[in-house]
Every structure is written in C-alpha cells, then in structure tokens.
C-alpha cells in the first residue's frame, strides 16, 4: 500500500517549477534509524520526550490520555473486533463494503473509526495500530482521494474521520519521531487541499459546514505538526517542509483580522525560529501578508502568481477575490471620472479573464461599458459599489491555473 504518497501528479504530490514539493512525499531511506529516534529514557532523546508531552497536550481534541510505553499490535487498518462489530451493526462506509455489501467488509477495506472518548485504561494493544500499520493506513486513505468514482465530499468525509483516528493512535502511543512528522505533514496537506476544494463548492450550505469543520482540523493538525517539529529540533536544522508549513500558518491570517488559531499573529511570530523566518517560503508568505495589509494589490497578485506553491495557493485562493474587491473599490474611488478604466488593463492587474472581470464588476454593483472601438471599460466614481454578500462564483486566477481543477 505505497499508494498515496508515491502517486505523482496527484493533487497531493503536485510539485511546481522543480521546487521539490514532491520530495517530502517519500519517506527517507534511513527509515530504520528513524524508528529508534524516540526511544525513551536515554539522555539523548530528551528533546523528543519533552515535546511528546506538549504534542499531546495539543491534541486533546482526541481525548487521548498519553501512555508512554503503549505499543499497539493491531496488524490491520481496523482492529478485528471493531470490524466484526461494525459489520454486525451495518455501520460501514461506502469504501469499506465488500462488493457493496453493507454488512460485509474485509481487512483490506475497513479502517478504524474515530472514537471520541477513549482512555488508555480500556484500550487493548490489539486495538491500537503500530506506526508501520498507521503509515500504510494513511497512504491507503490518501490514495482514495484520487478516486474519480465518488464525489469529493464523500471521500473527504471518510478520510476526515479516519485520519482523525490515526492521529488518536499516534497520540496514545506517544509517537513523536520523524515518521510522525511525515504523517502529520500528509494529513495537513489533506486538510489544506480540502480547504480549497470545499471552498470551490461553498455555494452548497452543507459544504460550508464541512469547510468549517475541515478548517478546525486543519488548524489543530498544523499546531500539532509544529509541536512535532519542535520536538525533533536540533540546533539550526530545519526540517525539509518545516518552512512551507509555517508559511501556511501565516497565509491563514490573510482575512481581515482573522485569527483562525485564536492567537494574534504577532505573538506567534515571537516564537518562530530564525532559520524558518528567513526561509524562502516564509519570505513569500510575509511578503504576501504585507501586500495584503497595505492593500498593494499589484504586488500581491504578482508575487502570488510568481511564487506560490500548490499548498500556498490552496490557502490563498479564498482571499484572492477579497483583494480584487479592494482593488476595484480603490480604482472606482480614486480614478479620473472622464477616463474609464480599460477592463483589459485591469484584468491583467488582477490576473482574471476579461470576461470574468466583467461579471465580477457587476457582482460588486459596478456597471461596465464599451468604447467606440469595442474595448470594454469600467467607468469610475460609480456610487453603486457594494461589497458582495454571500461570496462569488469561482473566477480563475490566471497566474496559477495549473493548480485549479
């Protein structure tokens, strides 16, 4: 089950301009070393231990009580006991049904469900999956996202729940090594990509609530990932994807005064290590943030189009229209009344198709016109400008179309 991680060209391994986004998707070849990383009790592992606890304190979502020496023995994606019980109760997700039979599953299909109230007291080793099984399980789940057979929302629902249960198993076994990092990175990616995909179909109110729940898990998983980085930190070494995942955190703050993590960004910056702050990915995110906060839409769009990675794009996309609205209101407010603004010029500025721009303007309560040679124009100083309520239809971002589908 090497599936999900190895599949190039999927949305999960999309790399761009040779920036090596794909590299992080494969576990490194020195796997055996990695597994001994978090051995307890030896002085050299103290940093790993320290953060193990803080990781756990941050994943209380899963109500798991950490137990330092608990190691699972369950060889399957789903403990046998649970599978049999759920077969009996006909509590099987579509992906778990053998030949579509709602009362029959198999070890290759059933995946352990997330269960809110679990305490180690009542957990048997046979209910807990060891790290290698968890890795396979995650790869299997992520590979499902490539399936074209089902609606994305359906797959998302399944993967959302089952990855939560993976995190619970990781937490309860107190796994804080590099393998845990790779798995958390994979799960954060899942939530980031879902963040974009669900946003694309936000017009459906059901999706809107899924989007919200996804965001909740995205922020929690990201916070846990940061704790894992910290736990595996040594001096000035930065993990391969550490900078990019930190940049996502910054980009999540693009909304006006939004604090998705419940903490002011300024306070968070105080704790970020210098090598991460200086990284290329963070410089990008900070530049985007600066342009956004200044209202410099020109720099915002140019920088985004030139440098955004796929994951960064997924986080930023929902804010793109917000910046376009700002640009429109600035131009409408300050533009010379006798010189209507050519839509062609404006569309280049906003990285939007000219035809889309026309509908975008209308959506903001602005009328568009045409000059004698047929060029489309936006008359300025219109008093009818209004912030569109209830969002937009989707408009392409021309710099990064290859990311959109």
């Amino acid at each position: 089950m090497e599936g999900g991680y190895g599949n190039r060209g999927s949305s999960f391994s999309q790399s761009r301009r040779g920036r090596g986004r794909g590299r992080g998707q494969r576990f490194p070849s020195n796997q055996s070393k990695v597994s001994s990383f978090a051995e307890r009790g030896t002085p050299s592992s103290s940093s790993a231990n320290r953060a193990s606890a803080s990781v756990i304190s941050n994943t209380q979502e899963d109500d798991a009580q950490p137990s330092s020496n608990f190691v699972g023995t369950c060889p399957y994606m789903c403990p046998e006991r649970e599978r049999i019980q759920r077969e009996k109760l006909r509590d099987l997700a579509i992906f778990e049904r053998l030949h579509g039979n709602p009362g029959k599953s198999s070890p290759a299909l059933a995946v352990k469900k997330f269960c809110r109230t679990i305490s180690t007291k009542y957990v048997q080793a046979s209910d807990m999956r060891p790290i290698t099984v968890l890795e396979d399980t995650l790869n299997y789940l992520l590979s499902l996202l490539e399936s074209k057979e089902h609606l994305f929302e359906v797959v998302h629902d399944f993967v959302f729940d089952r990855t939560r249960s993976i995190r619970q198993d990781i937490t309860m076994q107190n796994i804080v090594n590099k393998k845990a990092i790779y798995m958390y990175e994979g799960m954060v990616k899942f939530h980031v990509v879902s963040h974009y995909k669900l946003w694309c179909s936000m017009s459906d109110p059901n999706t809107a609530s899924l989007h919200h729940l996804n965001m909740e898990q995205l922020t929690k998983t990201l916070a846990s990932l940061f704790n894992l980085y910290e736990a595996n930190q040594n001096s000035n070494h930065v993990h391969e994807n550490e900078a990019e995942f930190h940049s996502l955190y910054v980009l999540l703050h693009l909304g006006s005064y939004s604090q998705p993590m419940g903490e002011p960004l300024s306070l968070w910056f105080q704790r970020v290590s210098t090598p991460v702050l200086k990284s290329k990915e963070m410089c990008f995110a900070r530049r985007i943030l600066r342009s956004f906060r200044l209202g410099n839409y020109k720099d915002f769009f140019c920088t985004a189009a030139a440098q955004a990675s796929y994951l960064q794009f997924c986080i930023m996309m929902p804010y793109i229209n917000e910046v376009r609205v700002l640009a429109l209101s600035c131009i409408n407010f300050g533009g010379y009344k006798l010189h209507p603004y050519p839509l062609l010029d404006l569309s280049k500025l906003l990285f939007i198709k000219e035809s889309d721009l026309e509908s975008f303007c209308n959506h903001c309560g602005l009328e568009t016109g045409t000059d004698e040679s047929g060029n489309k124009l936006l008359p300025t100083k219109q008093t009818t400008f209004s912030h569109p309520k209830g969002g937009f239809q989707r408009y392409s971002f021309l710099g990064l179309q290859e990311y959109e589908r």
Binding site: A53, S57, P264, L267, Q270, L294, N296, A327, K337, H339
Partner: protein, 410 residues
C-alpha cells in the same frame, strides 16, 4: 545546626504564623510565604526542616497550628524542596498551600491578609516557571505554569466579587496576564478583562496604582495586537503617565510598544526621547517617515527584524509604509511647487517611479498607480489619478491630510 536549634526555629515560625493570624498582622503574615524572596529567616527554616525529620508532629502539637495544617504541611514540604532545589516538588506542594490558603482567606471577613495573598500569587507563578524549566530539562512536558494559571483563576474568583477584597483582584489579573503572555494564550485574558471592566460596583481608579499601570500596559499590548490604535494609545499612555518615573526600565518597556502606536497615528517622537530611553532602533524609522524614504524604512525593519518580531510590533511598523509613500509624494509636490506653482498639483506617476528608483526601489508605473489609488482610498491623499495619462491630480485644498492622532482608514 543542632537538633534543638532546628526545633526552635520551626516552633518560632509556627508561633509567628498563628500570632499573625490571631492579631491579623498582615506584614508579618506575608513574610512567612515569600519563598522566592530567599529571606534569611525562611532559608534557615528550610535548613531546620531538612534536619528535623518530622515537622508535621510539631504542627499537630497545638491546636493553634493544627487548624492550619492544610496550609502548613505542604508549605513546609515546599520550603524544604525549594531549599534542596527540587523545584517541581516545591511547586506541587506550594500549589496545595495556595489552595488551602484561599479557602481560609474566603472565610476571613476583612482583607487583612491581602499582602500575604499577593506574595502567594507572585510566588506560585515564579515557582511554576522554575518547575517548568526543571521539567523541560528532564524531557518532560512543562505544564505547571498553565496549572498556576488555573489556581490564580480561583484566586481571582474569590476576589472579584464585591467587598473590601476586590481591591486585590487587579494584582491577580496582572499575574495572570504575565502567565498568558508567556504561554501564548492571550485569548484567556478576555474573560478576566471583561470582569474588571464591566464591574459597576468598583471604580477602576480605586485599584492600587502599581496594578493599574501593569494592567494598562498589558491590555495596551493586546490592543496593539488587534491594531486598535486609539485604545492602545489610551492604555499605554495611561501606563506611561502613572508609571513610577524612577523606574526607567518600565518606562522603556511601555515606550517600546507606545512608540509604534503613536507612529501609526501620525505622531513622531523627538530623537532625544529615543536616546534617553535607548530606543534607537526606532530612530531610522522615524527618520524614514520624516523624509519619505522607503528604503530607509525597509532597511530599519530588516536591521532590527528580530527585535521587532520578538516584541510583537513588527507588523505594525511594516504598515507605516503607506505614510512613507504619502510623505514621498508630498515632497515631490513641494519641489514642483517651488518650480512651477501653477502645475504643482499634477504629479506624473513616472516621477514617483523615478524617485523610488533613486532609492533603489524597483516599482513599475502600474504598482505606483496602485499605491496612489490606495493612498487616495485611505484618505492619505486627496485627488484622483488618471490611468490613461499616468498622472495623479492632487486636490488644491489639503492634498495630504494629516492623521492628527487618528489611525489610517482601513
């Protein structure tokens, strides 16, 4: 130290303890809890406890002491461990003492023991920080400071009601702020603030001055995070005004956050102030604002990036860029006015591009148009821009409105 001497010291401590309570002698009482003050009296008591195997027997000997056993037994244990540098154990025991203390405190009608409460509140935070350091160095999760926060919330709850004890609530609040800022959980400040600020029965001004200053400092910083500059200005200025003029370190701390706020509302400090309080990291930024020198602003931000990020003002300073652009266009306007007053109010975008190029800032005419559009939109500039002729036409009246203590429009 002989066994007899140890015995004597412990008994002396117990006597002072029960005497202080029976005579409601707050000053003596408070000195009995101040672990981290390292007073000779408590240190020698620690040594005595180390020697004397069973101090609890002494506590049980007399009703005067034994009725406070819940406070005293863990307090002795804490003191002993503190003396032996077992900081985790010292904290755990002290937490028990604190919980027992607040039980008693609740039953005392007057606020006579408030000073002792302050000492406990302070020490529980300091001990928790030390315990967390010890935990971290042993590879364990540092969680005691968080725990101390919960204990202090209990203290706060006891004080926050009406009556004479309420005067102590602000001190506890300030210690809670210190914990939350350290842990990065400042959202927890909100409920405490609400309780302080909405209380009708107690006028804020009646709290002790020192606590008011600390409170205004922290809540002012929170307002800086929210970029609510008028409120931040009010709170930090209050702290500055009422702060002890002798304590330069505190004044400096307040200014560190107040200066970015003042800059954001268009008020620039004199250089002598920056020199006096050794805040020279701001002098280039102020200069950049005076000169309209974008390069200088960006250099200053880069040179002191770490410092500004660590003190949490970086993002605020970064936003000053708009004011620097405003100043730059204004300077161009002034120069044009000297040359040709009749046409000074028309500024070609190319001229701005050129000025930026002198500053080694590479911006094309589209981006300059964008900047101009924002300046107009945010009322930092009055006029309009013409996209076709690439020119900005400034209003003849007050083309560059001053902020005058108001934030830039958002």
């Amino acid at each position: 130290m002989s066994m007899g001497e140890a015995h004597r010291r412990i008994t002396e401590y117990l006597n002072r303890f029960s005497d202080a309570i029976s005579s409601q002698d707050g000053a003596t009482f408070k000195s009995l809890f101040a672990l981290s003050s390292n007073s000779p009296f408590l240190l020698s008591l620690g040594d005595a406890l180390n020697l004397f195997q069973d101090p609890n027997r002494l506590i049980k000997q007399s009703d005067n002491y034994s009725q406070f056993a819940d406070i005293l037994v863990p307090l002795f244990r804490s003191l002993l461990n503190y003396r032996q540098n077992n900081l985790l154990e010292a904290y755990n025991a002290f937490e028990k003492t604190a919980n027992a203390f607040i039980q008693e405190f609740r039953n005392w009608e007057s606020a006579w023991a408030l000073e002792a409460l302050y000492v406990i509140v302070y020490d529980i935070r300091v001990l928790a920080e030390k315990a967390d350091k010890e935990l971290a160095s042993n590879g364990k999760s540092p969680e005691k400071l968080k725990g101390a926060g919960s204990v202090l919330m209990k203290f706060f709850g006891t004080l926050a009601g009406k009556g004479s004890k309420r005067v102590g609530a602000l001190y506890v609040t300030c210690q809670l702020f210190k914990i939350y800022f350290k842990l990065g959980t400042v959202h927890l400040c909100r409920s405490v603030i609400r309780s302080i600020e909405t209380a009708r029965i107690f006028d804020f001004e009646e709290f002790p001055k020192r606590d008011k200053v600390t409170y205004m400092y922290y809540t002012g910083r929170l307002e800086v995070f929210n970029e609510n500059f008028p409120a931040a200005d009010y709170k930090l200025s209050y702290a500055l005004k009422h702060c002890n003029p002798q304590s330069e370190a505190n004044i400096r701390m307040i200014l560190k956050h107040l200066i970015p706020v003042k800059l954001s509302i268009g008020i620039l400090p004199k250089n002598s102030l920056l020199e006096k309080y050794n805040l020279l990291e701001y002098s280039k930024i102020v200069q950049a604002l005076r000169r309209g020198d974008l390069r200088l602003l960006r250099c200053a931000l880069q040179d002191h990036e770490d410092r500004f990020l660590r003190s949490g003002v970086y993002l605020v300073l970064e936003k000053l860029e708009l004011q620097v652009y405003q100043r730059l266009v204004k300077k161009i306007y002034i120069i044009q006015k000297q040359k040709d007053p009749g046409r000074a109010h028309q500024v070609k975008l190319e001229v701005i591009v050129k000025a930026l190029k002198w500053l080694e800032i590479d911006m094309d005419v589209d981006e300059v148009e964008c900047i101009v559009a924002i300046l107009i939109y945010k009322n930092l500039m009055k006029g309009y821009f013409a996209h076709k002729s690439k020119v900005v036409v400034l209003s003849k009246q007050d083309p560059f409105p001053k902020l005058n203590g108001k934030p830039v429009n958002s």
